[in-house]
């Protein structure tokens, strides 16, 4: 059987960053990828998507952004090109078209089974992604068959949906972006909104993600975050990468005619029932945004950055209609499609090591998988820092995880 020191599962930016640091330490490894490099960006995103992180943040270890539009936002083709370029520059030993079908513990490491053969290794880095499947709530099963249901994995663009109204469920980045695009296509759109993270696109003249980066919020470590499980569950911020750098919060959507309703709670007798708690989630999000902006202001004041940015500003509270709809007849024809923008989850069905909890989350401490020496993970929410799942967040995590992995190898031999 083939032997190597380390197997990296997945050739997204996380697996490739792991490979970069493994090569730097001359640790023998292969990167196994079921599709092509940057597979998720090639096959699992909709047509109009652009990164919500600005170009200057699209940096990978040893590869800063060197284009001409640092404040712009990459389209999917550009992201694929970015990751392809990184793979080529680092000469990552990627085997594409190789699906890992099983991973088991052995006496001295792991046994990796793939559809192209088997590999024995001492350590494994799981970089197979945090968003392998759309997570769709159980209540979708009760939606009448006359209504089309799509997830962000099926969705490519408005043209593909039947004519008529759309209920978009979920108001994180995906939900607000799809609601805006579907509304622009002329469709009536209802947006079902649970807890969400509101952010302005720019604050005091700078991209809000510049503030996240500069003020150190994004660098906050997993062992400093007060409620880590909560931080790991948090949805993506209501942001979109559009050339005009406008905010895509609920007020912006309401202004285009999107109707807001509460969280989708149940389907009963063909009706979708919405929570009456919309006002509560909206005021929580407004308060949290203000708290974040206060953090930025305090940082600017103490670091003497005030002069380099525009004066502090605050944004209009989210407008909620005086009475929101509590029910929607799904059989009445008002809505032809339900879009489930209810988040994503990893797929560990191929992992034959008992390291996944009952909710499907990997048990790990900063990417060091618990109770399974030699097994590591990258690219999961707040893995080691708040920025862990973002492209620019991988460098610090990958370096530290590979440090740990290398220490593990040294201890054993």
């Amino acid at each position: 059987m083939e032997r190597t020191t380390t197997v990296v599962v997945g050739a997204g930016h996380a697996g490739l960053a792991a490979s970069h640091f493994l090569s730097e330490r001359a640790i023998d490894h292969v990167v196994l990828e079921r599709g092509d490099v940057a597979n998720s960006w090639r096959r699992e995103r909709w047509d109009s998507l652009r990164l919500l992180t600005p170009n200057w943040q699209s940096r990978l270890p040893g590869q800063p952004y060197d284009g001409s539009d640092p404040d712009g936002y990459m389209a999917m083709g550009e992201v694929v090109e970015l990751i392809d370029r990184f793979a080529a520059r680092t000469r990552a030993p990627v085997r594409t078209g190789t699906t890992v079908t099983s991973l088991r513990r052995t006496d001295d490491g792991y046994h990796v089974r793939t559809d192209q053969g088997e590999i024995a290794c001492r350590t494994v880095v799981l970089a197979s992604g945090a968003c392998n499947r759309p997570s769709v709530p159980r209540l979708s099963e009760a939606v009448p068959g006359t209504v089309e249901q799509v997830t962000p994995f099926d969705y490519r663009g408005p043209d593909q949906l039947p004519d008529g109204g759309v209920l978009v469920v979920g108001a994180s980045a995906t939900g607000v972006q799809l609601a805006a695009e579907l509304r622009r296509s002329g469709r009536p759109v209802i947006l079902s909104t649970g807890e969400h993270v509101r952010m302005p696109r720019t604050y005091r003249g700078r991209d809000v993600l510049w503030w996240m980066d500069a003020s150190g919020v994004w660098d906050q470590r997993h062992d400093e975050v007060p409620d880590l499980p909560r931080a790991r569950r948090l949805g993506s911020p209501q942001l979109a990468g559009t050339p005009d750098r406008t905010s895509l919060d609920l007020n912006a959507l309401t202004a285009t005619g999107v109707e807001l309703v509460g969280r989708s709670a149940a389907v009963r007798d063909g009706e979708m029932l919405f929570s009456g708690g919309l006002r509560a989630v909206v005021s929580l999000a407004d308060l949290k945004m203000d708290r974040l902006l206060n953090t930025f202001d305090a940082w600017a004041a103490t670091t003497g950055t005030d002069d380099e940015v525009k004066p502090a500003e605050r944004f209009e509270p989210t407008r909620v209609p005086s009475a929101t709809r509590l029910r929607l007849d799904l059989r009445g024809g008002e809505v032809a499609t339900v879009v489930w923008a209810t988040g994503f989850r990893p797929d560990y069905t191929w992992l034959d090591v008992p390291v996944v909890d009952e909710k499907g989350h990997l048990n790990h401490d900063g990417g060091v998988v618990l109770d399974s020496p030699g097994l590591y993970a990258l690219g999961l929410p707040v893995l080691r820092r708040r920025k862990s799942t973002f492209i620019h967040g991988i460098e610090d995590d990958a370096r530290e995880v590979v440090d740990h992995l290398s220490g593990h190898l040294a201890r054993r031999h």
């Binding site: 509460g262 969280r263 149940a266 029932l273 929570s275 708690g277 005021s283 929580l284 308060l287």
Partner: protein, 185 residues
């Protein structure tokens, strides 16, 4: 009693946090059943008693039995022995949110001096009278207004109130649909 920096709202937050940790690994123990028994008296007057509940894997008993009288006011041609059933929903919501405010304040180190919630439930009674089939039986809306005196900024107080809704059993029960089964034994 728990005190954080000398703050004391009378909530043992540590015990709650400990329970949260303990129950993470023991979901069975977290399964509670609350019970009440309603006895019809006469007319629209009834008496409800509450004493036992199930939780932490065992039968539990309140220190004392509580008794609640429900009736309807004289404008409903009733005798008004007690409040109307729907007003009990306001009782439940107000006390749940107030408890939440106190707990969150304790956890955040905010000393409360007074908390008062005023609740208003808008109710179109044509629904229950069957006078208009388009009018629902329940509340059209509930408004809660908090008056809070505490050592905290307005922003922090608003955050307390927001968080208390997020963790409120009754707020959830009122704002989200609940499966209710009614049977004849």
């Amino acid at each position: 009693m728990t005190t954080i920096d000398g703050i004391d709202n009378g909530v043992n937050v540590q015990a709650l946090l400990d329970a949260r940790e303990a129950l993470k690994g023991a979901p069975e123990a977290a399964q509670f059943t609350w019970r009440s028994t309603t006895r019809w008296e006469n007319g629209v007057h009834s008496t409800t008693t509450v004493r036992n509940f199930f939780g932490l894997g065992a039968e539990q008993t309140h220190k004392a039995e509580s008794t609640f009288t429900a009736d309807h006011p004289e404008v409903f041609a009733a005798e008004d022995h007690g409040i109307t059933p729907i007003e009990y929903l306001l009782v439940g919501l107000g006390s749940c949110l107030a408890a939440g405010v106190a707990s969150v304040a304790q956890n955040r180190g905010i000393q409360l001096r007074s908390v008062e919630a005023t609740l208003e439930g808008a109710h179109d009674i044509r629904g229950i009278l069957g006078a208009d089939s388009d009018v629902r039986n329940g509340f059209n809306g509930v408004k809660v207004t908090f008056n809070i005196d505490a050592d905290a900024s307005r922003e922090d107080i608003e955050a307390l109130v927001a968080q208390s809704q997020k963790r409120s059993a009754v707020f959830d029960a009122l704002t989200n649909p609940t499966d209710v089964t009614v049977e004849v034994a």
